[in-house]
């Protein structure tokens, strides 16, 4: 079959949204399909949303047997066999309307824009032959804001077979971009409250210099230099596999994330227990307390207890790691399942 994978992008910015497109393309090609990736530029300026929506409407991909749409406003494309793998709305007009991220006033004009966008989105969504989302959180939003049912199709990571478990050190690994909403600071503060000699490894890059500096200061303030490895760089895929193979457990504590996030799937593939928090959103679709990881309150004190428990009750931690791998099968997180659903 001929697949066109359509998504919006911002030039020179890479992220998870591009990974899912590239990985799906590689997987479809390996399964014998022809694939074309169509990325078009899009900016989220409220005054430009509707004209950009028209632009997508004018795109002609009739050469493809099926199109799969990802980031907004790709779902506006016209095609007789449109499939959505919906990863988020333009969130400032939806669930983030009431937050400081909105960036424009809650006035008549913007309320009207919001209503018009919701109406247009709903119509575009209704045109699709099938609607998949990347998480229950996003499916719930589609139901709540657009009244549209969807199926969760969890995005697997690429080449899952390379992850493995080699043993269990004293180190909890957090491999993720260093950003405030990922809350590495909380984990370092928690370490200061622990009773056991458990250690941390934080690896990732940051959009700016501020947050990594802040993290260094926290490490210094609590004199944790001997117990925290802070690597402010994008480690290679091979290094990542190694870190996860050897660590005691993995942490992932974002603030209200939409999806479970690749870091938690990668750690699960390596057979490692996960540490997350009660307010981490989509991660809670994956982690079950005491089964494949621990779910802590998002405070240093509570996280310290969880870290101590991972260290002290090592036998349970190892067992939860084994369960983490099983949990992926339970949720059907595999490329084979993705291909089956998209070609159905």
């Amino acid at each position: 079959m001929r697949f066109a994978l359509v998504s919006s992008f911002v030039p020179f910015i890479n992220g998870g949204a591009r990974n899912i497109v590239d990985w799906l393309a590689a997987t479809l090609r390996a399964a014998g399909h022809e694939v074309e990736i169509v990325l078009f530029p899009e900016v989220d300026d409220p005054d430009l949303l509707f004209q950009q929506m028209m632009a997508i409407r004018w795109m002609d991909l009739s050469m493809a047997d099926r199109v799969v749409c990802f980031r907004p406003q790709a779902h506006f494309i016209r095609h007789p066999h449109k499939i959505l793998w919906f990863i988020h709305h333009i969130r400032i007009f939806y669930d983030m309307w009431e937050t400081s991220y909105r960036g424009f006033p809650d006035d008549h004009k913007h309320r009207e824009l919001r209503a018009a966008l919701t109406e247009a989105d709903t119509l575009a969504l209704q045109e699709a032959k099938a609607i998949f989302t990347n998480s229950q959180v996003v499916s719930d939003r589609l139901q709540r804001f657009n009244g549209i049912a969807s199926e969760v199709l969890y995005p697997p990571v690429f080449d899952a077979g390379r992850f493995h478990c080699r043993g269990h050190s004293d180190q909890v690994a957090y491999i993720c971009r260093l950003e405030h909403h990922k809350r590495q600071h909380l984990l370092i503060e928690a370490l200061a409250h622990t009773q056991t000699p458990v250690t941390l490894r934080l690896c990732g890059t940051s959009a700016g210099d501020r947050y990594p500096k802040e993290l260094q200061q926290i490490v210094a303030r609590y004199r944790l230099q001997d117990r925290v490895v802070l690597e402010n760089r994008w480690i290679t895929e091979e290094e990542k596999v190694d870190v996860l193979a050897d660590c005691l457990a993995a942490a992932y504590l974002p603030v209200d994330e939409d999806s479970y996030g690749y870091p938690s799937v990668e750690a699960s593939l390596a057979g490692k227990a996960l540490l997350t928090t009660t307010d981490s959103g989509g991660v809670l679709e994956l982690v079950k307390e005491g089964v494949n990881g621990l779910i802590s309150n998002p405070t240093p004190q509570a996280l310290a207890k969880a870290l101590d428990r991972l260290y002290a009750q090592r036998h349970d931690t190892v067992k939860m790691g084994v369960q983490a791998k099983h949990r992926l099968n339970e949720l059907n997180i595999s490329w084979q399942h993705v291909i089956d659903r998209l070609t159905a």
Partner: protein
């Protein structure tokens, strides 16, 4: 600098322009820039949908980009203050091909309107661009004739110059590239029937259609040339293709009115091979200096057969002309370093 290459995509097809964009991106990065390519889908059939696709491109919003290098219609109509054009071609069916009667734009009111809109969008694009380069004198001449804009010719370099080192003369004339009526491989085969017995011909490349392949096979069989003409009609790996060029006596390329020098001629020059072409081959005929770097024949069987006699007559002369051909090519300074530098001026 963050440089975005903007070009078209004919979904599920890959051709020379796509390859050029890949190598341009690679060479921009090698020169220390950040580079990505935006490929915008374009379907020119049915013709009445051309206008909405122009609007689509014009409506796109670009951020986080310092420079745009745009290659083709309608992708090059994208809005950006730092836009440089490297024009590979306009929508020729609205211009020279329309004049020649080869167009999908009907001669009715709608067709006229689409042509007018294409011309206007083009003019606007050419006005707002920082600089306009083209891939050939022919493209520059057309731009001047139809839209009245000046431009500079910037020939696309060969993407993998290192594989065209030349080596030996195994006594055959090589005709490479796509096989179709416009490239006139059949003329060469017919001329072979009148060429010296010792000379051989190899035609290699992907046929555009089964009919194109059958026509050449039929021609060879009918003239009884099976021993002297080898047909290798398929898509060749670059190495295989380069081997054919590197071991040839001369390279023949006889397209009808080609826009540019054509990669075949440039690759032959890099391998120090003389080039055989015809007086009506457009850019290729500009490249070849008759009896110095190759031969420019009249585009008929007798004319080409006459040249084949000269080619077969003296291996030493063919070798000398090949050396002159390389010299002429080197003098043109068509390489990626210069190309990137000029595009980024």
């Amino acid at each position: 600098m963050k440089v975005l290459i903007v070009t078209n995509m004919a979904p599920f097809l890959w051709g020379g322009a796509e390859e050029l964009a890949v190598h341009l991106e690679r060479n921009l990065i090698a020169a220390g820039h950040r580079a990505e390519t935006l490929r915008i889908p374009f379907q020119w059939e049915p013709a009445q949908r051309i206008v909405s696709q122009m609007l689509m491109v014009r409506t796109f919003e670009l951020t986080n980009v310092d420079r745009v290098i745009a290659l083709k219609f309608p992708a090059y109509t994208i809005r950006h203050p730092g836009k440089t054009l490297w024009l590979l071609h306009q929508y020729r069916q609205a211009y020279d091909l329309h004049e020649a009667g080869h167009t999908n734009l009907k001669d009715d009111a709608t067709g006229e309107e689409v042509r007018r809109l294409i011309r206007e969008a083009d003019d606007q694009t050419f006005r707002e661009s920082r600089k306009i380069f083209t891939n050939s004198q022919v493209t520059s001449d057309r731009l001047k004739k139809f839209n009245g804009f000046e431009s500079e010719v910037l020939l696309p370099p060969v993407n993998d110059p290192e594989i065209f080192g030349g080596s030996s003369d195994k006594g055959y004339v090589f005709a490479g590239g796509r096989i179709n009526g416009m490239k006139r491989q059949h003329l060469l085969i017919e001329a072979m029937a009148r060429a010296p017995q010792g000379l051989k011909l190899i035609v290699a490349g992907p046929p555009d259609s089964p009919d194109d392949a059958a026509r050449l096979q039929h021609c060879v069989a009918q003239l009884g040339l099976q021993d002297r003409v080898k047909l290798d009609m398929r898509f060749l790996a670059r190495r295989e293709y380069a081997d054919y060029i590197n071991n040839s006596k001369a390279v023949a390329y006889l397209p009808v009115d080609e826009d540019s020098f054509g990669y075949v001629a440039m690759e032959a020059a890099m391998a120090s091979k003389p080039v055989i072409t015809t007086t009506d081959s457009g850019g290729v005929a500009d490249f070849v200096v008759h009896e110095e770097t190759g031969w420019v024949a009249t585009p008929d069987v007798a004319g080409i057969a006459d040249i084949l006699h000269q080619v077969g007559a003296s291996p030493a002369r063919a070798r000398d002309m090949g050396a002159s051909c390389l010299e002429r090519w080197n003098g043109l300074e068509v390489n990626w370093n210069m190309t990137v530098e000029r595009l980024m001026q």
